[in-house]
């Protein structure tokens, strides 16, 4: 069994005990434990079920590479699936449950898949489940979905908060082991600004486990060295150090994402749970260490089979022994360290199985001296046991797996050698080299990821760079630190790397399969990917079927596609593939490394942007008043505009009808502040506007307004609005609500990039003003009552404007109308907006004044046949389609869009043109309905001859009215068209003039 030892445990605080639950069962641990170490201390080796076959799964590793120990954690608003137990710090009251089984972890019906595994090889689903057709969606797929999927889906809204942080540094060092610390020191000594991050909660990394007793730096023990250098770095003002912060991804131009887990280990603390750092570093050093490789032998997935390094970690760091009797299987010297540590901790190590005929170096002698039996040239034929290792069968590595011996044990510690963590190096294009000696890929220093300057901006240090022993690691890291500083523009100190000892290891023997000639039955039980259940035979099958590219094999077998992204399985898998294809490993190559290094929370990615600040809401000065007075909001861009002002007990529709009638009969008030207002000034302003608008603006007289159309260079109508000429040099252009920023940018673009010699300045003053439309037959009465300026028809005629004061408010009044009524649009300073609105409402009460919203505005303009950008236009409509030729200057040689409108399809007489539509029965045409002609087109679609662009019930006319685009429309007045609805009905509508109300304009010109 696995238990807590009375010795070791450098990271835990035995003086305190904390409680947590696993699958509802209370367990005890210590501060400093990971969930994994605490589970092992409670003899909980079985922690989950695999993805495909639902095989029992135990803890294999001690860090980010763990493929099995994934649990559901927390409850309700803090529930989270797929938490990795090996990187989850234990806290009091932690609740965890295991995943992917039913009804329970111990008894999972899904395990049937395991006994059927022979019938479910890689890609079997591509070959089956095809007949009968309907079964895929209704039978097969639901079963597959249900049995896959690991953790439970969260149900509630996340209770935590998250944030981002923008950091800029000369040098970023990722990894706080001895290499990272030394690299950071060497870099910082140059005076460069250094940010050093470590994903775990402690500095020092593997060396604190592997090299403490045996080796030294500067003649001091490694732990002492780590203590000293950490203190030195902490004391340097140019160095920032962060624990619990992982380098997640490296992106172009020196952009690095780092994932800081602030409160995962203290869920009750204030502040954000995670912080996502967006770092811009001149140089990045990845000192990310290496990951130990499993060995591929039959039954290597049985709970109790672990990485040799992980077994050491649990003993040294947490004082936990994964097993009482641990068999070691290895192809290199490293695993001997595990044997020695276990033995010294008073645990039984019945056998070391070394695949190398000559065995290892000094460590082997030490192990032997401790009385541990070492078998050379041997391999594990098979591990016995189902929920826990019971014994191993031993054979010759050279053979096919004939069993020579059996050893009873409850744990197996395996080591297949090490793979440098090159993920971050590779994210942005860093290339790799195959290192024959250590059988691993390491960074190719000559082909780094290149930044904006074209020079490399990432370098690796220590084991991550392929330096395999302590002395080499320290030296390599020291050089990396200095080189990075130099590259970042600093002068590194002339200093030598601290002298460190180095172990005399014997060479590793690449072992990709154990035993070498393993029979099919054994290979079919030799796991490569523990989570996704990919076996040696699966990769061999893929190769046989022609999936020769490593990407094909990955996708066909799902090797390396699990939540650990193949940290344990990739290299073994592609070695097996290379062997099957009879080519060297580098010829096969690796799959692409993609961010993030380990999964990061969606919450952290979104950062602060949730709830109220998910997106900006733009508010006019009268926003709060609207909100308090029944506004039914409509988002327009980021603005919110009242769709209608709904009274208690009133429906939105009824409110809209009331607003139309009231405005037509007495007086209405519209908040028009969102309309864009752009000042265009300069000697060339008129000439410039002549290019921007389809009509002639340069001839407009000061004091007058003109309605104008703007097209894109591609000919399509993009915006419209009223232009007022302020003086000889100055115009004020109104745009649509959505148009202000867009059109402002459009103007600047042409001025800066095409006509930069023209003397024109533009300023966006949209938000300087609160603009209120006072509309209706009694509008003038109201303004006269408030007094301050002459708004009579003679003084201020239709399409004129004037500055003055009304009710004591300095303002500019535009005599323009989008409703067909007598109308004044009055602009006051935004800061006066609410007060002005209040004054109008108060003084207007005797005239029956009511505010109205956008829908009322839409209906009134439709009754008048005015087009609306976004309704009559959709980006495919040109002014000519809308009968707006009167607004297109014939005199001008050029304007934006003119040439485009000369293209054959734009001048095609068959283009759909604007008309009014009147339903025969007075009902309202469905929005977006199409008119059909006879027959079908070559693709069997009904021929369409027109469509509805706007449709409303007009309370003024008491019937449905609509505008639409119809082929040859204007020539077909009186014709009745058919519009099939989606409700099965067909609507009949007569083509009429689009002007339904007051065609002579008598109401607005009073």
């Amino acid at each position: 069994m696995s238990t807590r030892l009375s010795t070791h445990g450098r990271l835990i605080d035995r003086s305190q005990t904390i409680k947590f639950t696993f699958n509802g069962k209370w367990m005890r641990g210590h501060p400093g434990d990971t969930l994994a170490s605490a589970l092992l201390a409670n003899d909980q080796m079985l922690v989950g079920r695999s993805f495909k076959y639902h095989r029992p799964r135990g803890i294999v590793a001690s860090g980010a590479e763990e493929p099995n120990a994934l649990v559901n954690m927390g409850k309700g608003p803090t529930f989270e699936p797929n938490q990795r137990a090996t990187t989850t710090e234990l806290f009091d009251g932690l609740t965890a449950t295991s995943q992917n089984h039913w009804p329970s972890l111990e008894f999972d019906v899904g395990e049937i898949n395991a006994s059927l595994s022979r019938f479910l090889p890689a890609g079997f689903y591509y070959k089956t489940f095809m007949y009968p057709r309907a079964f895929w969606k209704h039978v097969y797929e639901p079963f597959i979905r249900q049995s896959a999927g690991l953790g439970q889906a969260p149900k509630d809204r996340d209770a935590d908060t998250y944030e981002h942080f923008y950091a800029f540094t000369d040098i970023l060092v990722i990894g706080g082991g001895v290499a990272g610390l030394q690299a950071a020191k060497a870099a910082a000594d140059s005076g460069a600004k250094v940010l050093l991050v470590e994903q775990s909660s402690a500095w020092g990394g593997r060396a604190m486990v592997d090299q403490v007793d045996s080796e030294t730096v500067n003649d001091t023990p490694v732990d002492k060295f780590v203590e000293e250098i950490t203190a030195e770095l902490a004391a340097m003002p140019n160095v920032t150090m962060r624990l619990r912060m992982m380098g997640a991804g490296v992106y172009d131009h020196g952009y690095v994402l780092a994932y800081e887990r602030l409160n995962d280990h203290q869920p009750d603390a204030d502040g954000p749970r995670h912080r996502l750092w967006r770092i811009r570093a001149k140089q990045t050093i990845t000192a990310t260490g290496a990951i130990e490789r499993p060995l591929s032998f039959a039954g290597n997935d049985v709970p109790g089979v672990m990485l040799a390094s992980a077994v050491r970690d649990y003993v040294v760091n947490f004082g936990v022994s994964p097993g009482d009797r641990t068999v070691i299987a290895t192809n290199n010297d490293d695993a001997y360290l595990t044997a020695i540590i276990l033995k010294k901790a008073g645990l039984d190590v019945p056998r070391i199985i070394d695949a190398r005929p000559e065995g290892g170096g000094a460590l082997m002698e030490e192990a032997k001296a401790l009385g541990i039996r070492v078998d050379l040239g041997r391999a594990i034929a098979k591990v016995k046991g189902s929920r826990r290792v019971t014994k191993v069968q031993i054979c010759n590595q050279a053979g096919e797996g004939g069993v020579l011996d059996e050893v009873a044990c409850d744990a197996v510690a395996m080591s297949g050698g090490w793979s440098p963590v090159v993920h971050l190096w590779s994210h942005c294009g860093g290339k790799l080299l195959w290192d024959e000696g250590h059988a691993m890929f390491r960074p190719d220093g000559d082909n780094p990821p290149r930044g904006a300057s074209g020079e490399g901006f990432v370098r690796c240090a220590g084991i991550a760079n392929g330096a395999m022993d302590l002395a080499a690691v320290i030296a390599d890291a020291h050089e990396a630190g200095k080189a990075a500083a130099k590259e970042a523009g600093f002068t590194p100190k002339r200093s030598k790397a601290p002298a460190a000892t180095s172990r005399a290891d014997a060479a590793l023997l690449p072992v990709w399969l154990m035993p070498q000639g393993a029979k099919t039955e054994l290979r079919a039980k030799s796991w490569l990917d523990f989570q996704n259940d990919v076996k040696v035979t699966d990769v061999q099958l893929a190769a046989r079927e022609g999936f020769e590219s490593v990407e094909h094999t990955k996708r066909y077998t799902t090797l390396g596609m699990a939540t650990d992204q193949g940290k344990l399985s990739n290299i073994n898998g592609l070695a097996i593939l290379s062997d099957a294809l009879g080519q060297p490993i580098p010829a096969t190559g690796t799959t692409t490394f993609r961010p993030p290094y380990t999964p990061i929370s969606m919450g952290a990615i979104a950062g602060e942007a949730r709830g109220e600040v998910f997106q900006p809401i733009r508010r006019t000065p009268m926003h709060d008043w609207h909100d308090a007075n029944g506004a039914d909001w409509e988002p327009v861009g980021h603005w919110r505009r009242p769709y209608a002002f709904v009274r208690p007990g009133e429906s939105v529709e009824a409110a809209v009808m009331r607003e139309v009638t009231n405005t037509r009969e007495s007086i209405g008030l519209l908040d028009a502040s969102t309309l864009g207002k752009l000042i265009v000034k300069g000697p060339d302003a008129g000439r410039f506007l002549d290019m921007l608008y389809t009509n002639m603006m340069s001839t407009l007289k000061p004091g007058r307004c003109r309605y104008g159309l703007m097209c894109t260079e591609n000919g399509f109508l993009t915006d419209d609005g009223v232009v007022a000429r302020i003086d000889e040099d100055t115009f004020l252009c109104h745009t649509t609500t959505g148009g202000a920023d867009r059109i402002h940018a459009h103007m600047e673009e042409w001025l800066q990039t095409e006509w930069w010699d023209w003397k024109v300045y533009v300023a966006n003053v949209t938000e300087q003003y609160a603009q209120v439309a006072v509309v209706g037959p009694k509008a003038r009465k109201l303004l006269e009552k408030l007094g301050g300026m002459d708004v009579s028809a003679d003084e201020l005629p239709f399409m004129g404007w004037a500055d003055g004061t009304i009710g004591g408010f300095a303002c500019r009044v535009y005599r323009i109308s989008f409703s067909g009524e007598l109308s004044f649009e009055i602009a006051v300073k935004a800061s006066d907006g609410q007060a002005f609105w209040d004054a109008l409402m108060e003084a207007g009460s005797e005239f029956g004044i009511q505010p109205y919203g956008t829908e009322c505005l839409h209906i009134m303009r439709a009754e008048k046949g005015f087009i609306m950008i976004g309704d009559e236009t959709d980006g495919t409509v040109i002014p000519q389609d809308l009968g707006l030729d009167w607004a297109i200057s014939k005199k001008k040689e050029d304007y934006l869009g003119k040439r485009a409108q000369e293209r054959s399809h734009m001048t095609d007489p068959n283009r759909w043109k604007l008309v009014g539509l009147e339903t025969v029965d007075g009902s309202v045409l469905p929005d977006g309905a199409y008119a059909v002609g006879p027959g079908k087109n070559a693709n069997g679609q009904r021929n369409m001859i027109g469509r509805v662009t706007s449709t409303y019930h007009s309370p003024t006319l008491g019937r449905g009215i609509a505008m639409g685009l119809v082929q040859h429309g204007p020539d077909r007045m009186g014709e009745v068209l058919e519009f099939p609805g989606t409700d099965g009905k067909t609507y009949k509508a007569k083509i009429v003039s689009p002007i339904f109300y007051d065609p002579e304009g008598e109401k607005q010109n009073v």
Binding site: R280, E749, Q752, K898, E902
Partner: protein, 109 residues
């Protein structure tokens, strides 16, 4: 995540402060131009896998349009310069030639 130096305000701006504006140094064709000329002006783009000249606006900063010489295969930036010009400055062309002998873009080499 690109970073480009705005030649107007000297700020090395994050990509999220900028807005891209497509290919640079296009000649506008208006009324009187042939269908081909107008079509090419509006739609034909070099879209090279390699050296490219493109427009950017320092939208969240000084608001000015500028040009960048950038490689689309490596995202290396050779330089940025104001938009009020019809061709790239010589020193940028020289820099590109030094780094990428034999490069071409339209009639530039």
């Amino acid at each position: 995540m690109l970073m480009l130096e705005c030649p107007y305000c000297g700020v090395t701006a994050d990509e999220t402060e900028l807005s891209p504006g497509g290919e640079a140094h296009l000649t506008r064709f208006g009324p009187g131009a042939s269908d081909d000329e107008f079509h090419d002006y509006l739609f034909m783009r070099e879209n090279p896998k390699g050296v490219h000249f493109e427009r950017w606006r320092h939208a969240y900063g000084c608001g000015k349009w500028f040009h960048a010489a950038r490689a689309t295969d490596t995202l290396e930036v050779f330089g940025t310069y104001p938009a009020q010009t019809t061709k790239p400055p010589q020193e940028i062309l020289d820099k590109i030639s030094a780094k990428r002998p034999g490069w071409t873009w339209r009639d530039l080499k």
